[in-house]
């Protein structure tokens, strides 16, 4: 094994181009587990800790530009107003020790269907900026996950920045597990209201081969909210609409039975989370002057 320690982003790209099999390591919370358990013996480890730009973020007009290695702790502390869904999701990641090291870039690189950030990114809307010596490109979050632990990265590319839409309405996130800390999601759900475009977006985690959106449920809810004039009159969403939305979210899930839960349970829980979150975000939307910050 060789340990590559690039001092700059350009050096990192050059190293990745020269050694496409090199495994990038930042927080190490996934990679080191695999090495410790001898599940993986990469030829090269590519340490990204010394590259400062990966730990920086910037709040722009429409987007937050989040460096791939910004630890979850920083997201929780600093971006709760701009990225309420992701801040809530970050707070559910493992433990303080893990949140101090891990970041969204690692979640995307590993692309596990159980990664905590994915439903929040899908619901908020995001693009992943990846780069290689050949140049950079933006991958829409919807096209990023290509299979179980597979993503759209080319072998010579590294994840640089995640461009996430700033919240223009309430967002929620929840996750099912046996306790609050140190839990790999049995399943997870994220929901974002986008009042500016009068749309809703969803994200489902750990209940399909990849993180997914419940697009049919979104389309149904968009139409129902429009038809009922809900965005303008701010009325309580009728239980029948909420139920139909929850059922469609359940239906969008394509889970499996495994050690953490059964497919039947996961499908059921996704529906419950969808219905509850719709209630929460809509209450927040109706109540003027309420904060957009997630309550952790």
């Amino acid at each position: 094994m060789d340990f590559l320690r690039p001092a700059s982003w350009e050096e990192a790209l050059a190293a990745k181009a020269e050694h496409p099999t090199a495994v990038p390591i930042a927080g190490g919370t996934d990679v080191m587990v695999e090495i410790n358990f001898d599940h993986r013996r990469p030829e090269y480890l590519l340490d990204l800790n010394r590259i400062e730009l990966l730990s920086e973020w910037e709040v722009g007009e429409e987007n937050v530009r989040l460096g791939a290695s910004v630890p979850y702790t920083r997201i929780m502390e600093n971006l709760r107003a701009e990225l309420p869904g992701l801040a809530l999701a970050s707070h559910t990641v493992a433990s303080p020790q893990i949140r101090n090291r891990g970041g969204v870039g690692g979640n995307l690189g590993t692309a596990s269907p159980a990664g905590d950030a994915h439903p929040a990114l899908l619901a908020a809307g995001a693009e992943v900026e990846v780069e290689s010596v050949r140049g950079s490109r933006f991958i829409p979050i919807d096209a990023f996950y290509t299979g179980v632990k597979r993503n759209a990265l080319e072998p010579d590319e590294l994840i640089k920045t995640v461009h996430i839409k700033k919240a223009d309405g309430p967002q929620q996130y929840s996750k099912v597990g046996t306790r609050n800390a140190m839990v790999i999601a049995v399943c997870a759900f994220g929901l974002a209201l986008h009042p500016e475009t009068r749309t809703v977006r969803t994200g489902i985690g750990s209940a399909a081969p990849t993180p997914i959106r419940a697009k049919e449920a979104e389309a149904f809810l968009n139409a129902a909210l429009e038809e009922g004039g809900f965005w303008d009159n701010g009325k309580i969403i009728t239980p029948s609409i909420a139920k139909q939305f929850a059922d469609l979210c359940s239906g969008a899930a394509n889970p499996i039975d495994d050690v953490r839960g059964t497919a039947k349970y996961r499908r059921h829980a996704v529906g419950i989370m969808a219905r509850r979150q719709l209630g929460w975000v809509w209450e927040q939307y109706r109540g003027t002057g309420r904060t957009l910050e997630g309550a952790a």
């Binding site: 094994m1 060789d2 340990f3 320690r5 390591i25 927080g27 190490g28 919370t29 990679v31 080191m32 587990v33 090495i35 410790n36 358990f37 013996r41 990469p42 480890l45 340490d47 800790n49 493992a94 433990s95 303080p96 020790q97 893990i98 101090n100 090291r101 609050n180 800390a181 140190m182």
Partner: protein
């Protein structure tokens, strides 16, 4: 490969480090500092918690090569670290910290009383763990001490919820959690009195 980094305030060098090795392995097996415990090796249990540039992390998940030029504090250096913090805010001279030899030899010697902590140089959180009876088998204790000390550094009067959250990444299989919470409350109260 060779790794140069600061351990408990003193510059150290580790040689012949395997590229896939964890910081925990370097500390325990190469530097002779077995205070940080090796249990799950997957970041679940917090027994190996150390401060990396001041931040609590699981040392089993930090690749040794990643600590080049960085600053690590282990439980062996906690007493000195806490003392420096109280007296000077932080170490400005570079002359403080715990020498490797002293850290290696750190133990409750027969002339000292490990039951009461008398005669042993302890940080306030260590003394509180003893006084509250928060140590059973002791395996989770070093990680808990590092995590709890960092909490009290950033929050002088933590709520029970703050304490639970700060310690949520540290497992105690003796399930002595209530006494551990008592110890952190005790240390916080003593810290409050001292101000």
């Amino acid at each position: 490969m060779r790794v140069n980094f600061t351990v408990n305030g003193r510059p150290q060098e580790a040689d012949d480090v395997w590229e896939g090795e964890s910081l925990l392995y370097v500390l325990r097996e190469r530097m002779g500092l077995p205070g940080s415990k090796n249990a799950c090796e997957q970041g679940e249990c917090g027994s190996c918690t150390v401060r990396l540039d001041g931040v609590p992390v699981c040392s089993c998940l930090v690749a040794a090569g990643q600590v080049e030029g960085r600053d690590v504090v282990t439980v062996e250096g906690l007493a000195e670290y806490a003392k420096e913090r109280t007296e000077h805010g932080s170490c400005g001279t570079g002359a403080c910290g715990t020498p490797l030899d002293a850290a290696k030899k750190w133990q409750a010697k027969p002339t000292q009383d490990s039951q009461t902590g008398e005669g042993v140089e302890l940080s306030p959180i260590q003394q509180a763990f003893i006084d509250a009876g928060a140590v059973q088998c002791g395996f989770c204790t070093p990680g808990l001490l590092i995590a709890a000390d960092e909490l009290l550094e950033r929050q002088s009067d933590p709520s029970d919820q703050d304490i639970r959250e700060a310690l949520s990444g540290n497992l105690c299989r003796c399930t002595g959690y209530e006494k551990i919470l008592d110890a952190v409350r005790l240390a916080a109260a003593r810290q409050g009195e001292a101000v």
